[in-house]
């Protein structure tokens, strides 16, 4: 098959906040490098940062020592399964990242004295609201710096040469045009696996994760891709902090059953509690925030405050709110499965186990180990989603810039490229009625029910794996009627892989820790499971292994 070719020094696959930040940072440090961003839809409009909460975590450097937060995180969030050095670096870079974002065109509100306008969220953290045009502004900055873009272009597979990654086989989702992009360094910024269940997470379909796995990259912490949030039962809109005010049909405050002190964000025990209440016939469960606080008193004769400045995201938020409000009749809630598997294993400069391949943002968050025993980001660490993406992008760019003089575009295996493109043809030519949506629906049946994926038990995981097996059995039969369908088939294949990895690793981890919850192994077992589970493809087989956690300044209690 004939195909187009492109060539660049640095190929960034994925044009969300992580990919754009990395492209800009590389170009700022090394203007001579040719940087190309390939994006499945449109870079700047893609990903989640421009549809999410629009908040950035803030640490007051005058008040918080990074290691204080690391200790808090290890105890309350990451359950001693995190890379503490990396977390300390993330906190220490907080102010620098905010300044970078501002210099790239992100609008972060400031006070008259030039300091950021922050609002406190806890004893150690605060937040800054940002507008939803953040990624569009960074794309504009990237274009000014000379970063090139190919939009509507999806990854099929990474290309390798002597075990190192030398670029990617991609295709236009508009007309199927195949293309080989040869690159000195390749950066995956393709987001997490969200299984097409939650609306805002619609673009996180794990195809970059699957391509990395197929190329032989190591994955890590695959079992922490099972995030769920409480949502209104009609609009499925999430309720933030609803876990603190959960009530059953008897009007009992059921939050007391699982939460002793206020937590940073929803714990998985809230999801377990919801399931238990409904199973025992005590449903529905609703959240009740109580009456809104009274408005602050106005000083007499105070001049009327000026109306707030219109923001880019105002209309987006208003439309979403109005549509949901039209159907939500009360505050009944149920879990919305989100997933957020982010497992590509990387070092502190976001290098994967394969030479020439880096992974940043939501495709390597848990794989970096920074998170500990928690999915996402934000991973019970509100406001950290965007900043973790920026953090990993800056670290990655630092590593690429340090080796810029040695970057060279190497060869690739022609047969490998042809095999990748043959996958498109096979899907389009196959005479079969099996669609990507059928496969996806089976994976969703494995992942969405929370008693299978969040509050786990060996028996229930077997049931889930049956669905995954059924989905996997359909893969060779899948067909597509056009290139949009081809894209969906690749995504469905990635979802099967993610679900399989999740349940295999979850079955291995015979304990409960942080977000990870097993009914049949309810205790944390530091003796045996203070370890990361890693997995890679070797000779076509899925091979799991255990890895030691990097040295910890704050060790797990019974490890001292």
């Amino acid at each position: 098959m004939e195909y187009k070719t492109e060539r660049c020094d640095v190929l960034v696959i994925g044009g969300g906040i992580a990919g754009l930040s990395c492209a800009v940072s590389v170009k700022e440090q090394c203007p001579e490098l040719d940087v190309l961003v390939a994006e499945k839809n449109f870079a700047g409009y893609s990903g989640k940062a421009n549809r999410g909460g629009g908040v950035l975590q803030y640490f007051d450097p005058e008040r918080i020592d990074p290691w204080e937060f690391v200790k808090f995180h290890a105890e309350k969030i990451g359950a001693y399964l995190g890379d503490q050095e990396l977390m300390a670096e993330y906190v220490a870079m907080n102010k620098g990242m905010l300044d970078k974002l501002t210099s790239w065109g992100a609008v972060l509100p400031k006070r008259e004295d030039g300091s950021y306008r922050v609002f406190p969220t806890g004893p150690m953290t605060a937040m800054i609201a940002t507008d939803l045009d953040i990624t569009l502004n960074i794309r504009k900055t990237a274009e000014k710096l000379g970063v090139r873009f190919v939009d509507k272009t999806a990854l099929i597979d990474l290309l390798t040469d002597d075990g190192g990654v030398t670029g990617a086989a991609v295709f236009s989702i508009l007309d199927g045009t195949p293309m080989v992009i040869r690159a000195g360094e390749t950066v995956l910024a393709t987001g997490s696996q969200n299984y097409r269940i939650g609306s805002m997470w619609g673009s996180g379909r794990g195809d970059g994760i699957a391509a990395a796995y197929r190329a032989g990259a190591k994955l890590r912490n695959v079992e922490f891709g099972n995030f769920a949030q409480l949502a209104r039962v009609r609009s499925h809109n999430e309720v933030v902090y609803g876990e603190n005010v959960m009530y059953n049909a008897k009007n009992e405050h059921i939050t007391k059953n699982f939460m002793k002190e206020r937590e940073t964000d929803i714990p998985s025990t809230a999801i377990r509690e919801w399931f238990t209440q409904i199973r025992e016939g005590n449903g529905p469960v609703r959240v009740d925030y109580g009456p809104p606080p009274p408005p602050p008193p106005k000083a007499e004769n105070a001049p009327p405050s000026p109306p707030p400045k219109p923001r880019y995201g105002d209309r987006f938020r208003k439309l979403n709110h109005e549509a949901a409000a039209a159907v939500d009749q009360d505050m009944e809630v149920a879990p919305l499965f989100i997933g957020e598997q982010s497992p590509i294993a990387v070092d502190h400069l976001m290098k994967t186990s394969l030479p020439g391949l880096h992974a940043i943002g939501d495709c390597s968050y848990c794989g970096s180990g920074v998170a500990g025993a928690v999915p996402a980001p934000p991973g019970r660490n509100r406001g950290s989603g965007i900043l973790n993406a920026v953090f990993s992008a800056l670290k990655c760019a630092e590593g690429i810039a340090a080796g810029a003089a040695e970057i060279s575009v190497r060869g690739y295996d022609e047969a490998q490229a042809q095999a990748a493109f043959a996958r498109i043809t096979a899907l389009l030519e196959r005479k079969s009625s099996v669609t990507a949506k059928q496969v996806t629906a089976l994976v969703q049946q494995a992942m969405a029910p929370v008693e299978q994926s969040v509050w786990m038990h060996e028996e229930r995981m077997k049931k889930a794996m049956d669905y995954v097996d059924q989905a996997e059995a359909l893969l060779p039969e899948m067909s597509a009627k056009d290139t949009h369908g081809v894209m969906e088939c690749f995504e469905a294949e990635a979802m099967v892989l993610s679900a399989k990895l999740h349940y295999k690793a979850s079955e291995m981890r015979k304990e409960s820790r942080g977000w990870f919850l097993r009914e049949d192994y309810p205790e944390t077992d530091n003796k045996h499971w203070h370890k990361w589970i890693a997995v890679e493809k070797r000779n076509g087989e899925m091979v799991f292994s255990l890895e030691e956690i990097p040295p910890e300044r704050f060790p797990a209690p019974d490890m001292e």
Binding site: N41, R51, G202, A231, R315, F316, A334
Partner: protein, 81 residues
């Protein structure tokens, strides 16, 4: 979400052909008809009802009408499936 029944109403007479709706769709629901300089809402069954296309349209040519009943939480209890 898959197999949703959200609808998108489009008024071609209002459309200025700016492409913002096409570019803003993060799940490839909207394609672009270059000859007529108009969007084509080709894969509406994949719409995630994020409202981005409607919110960026400066001419109010687009209206997303979500059908929340067609979205499912997929929990094991019939009322939440």
């Amino acid at each position: 979400m898959i197999n949703t029944r959200h609808r998108i109403e489009f008024d071609p007479d209002k459309c200025a052909g700016c492409q913002l709706c096409y570019k803003s769709c993060f799940v490839d629901v909207i394609r672009w008809d270059a000859a007529n300089r108009k969007p084509v809402f080709q894969y509406v069954e994949d719409c995630e009802h994020c409202f981005y296309c409607q919110s960026v349209c400066r001419r109010d040519a687009i209206r997303v009408i979500p059908d929340y009943e067609s979205e499912h939480l997929l929990q094991s209890f019939p009322q939440y499936h």
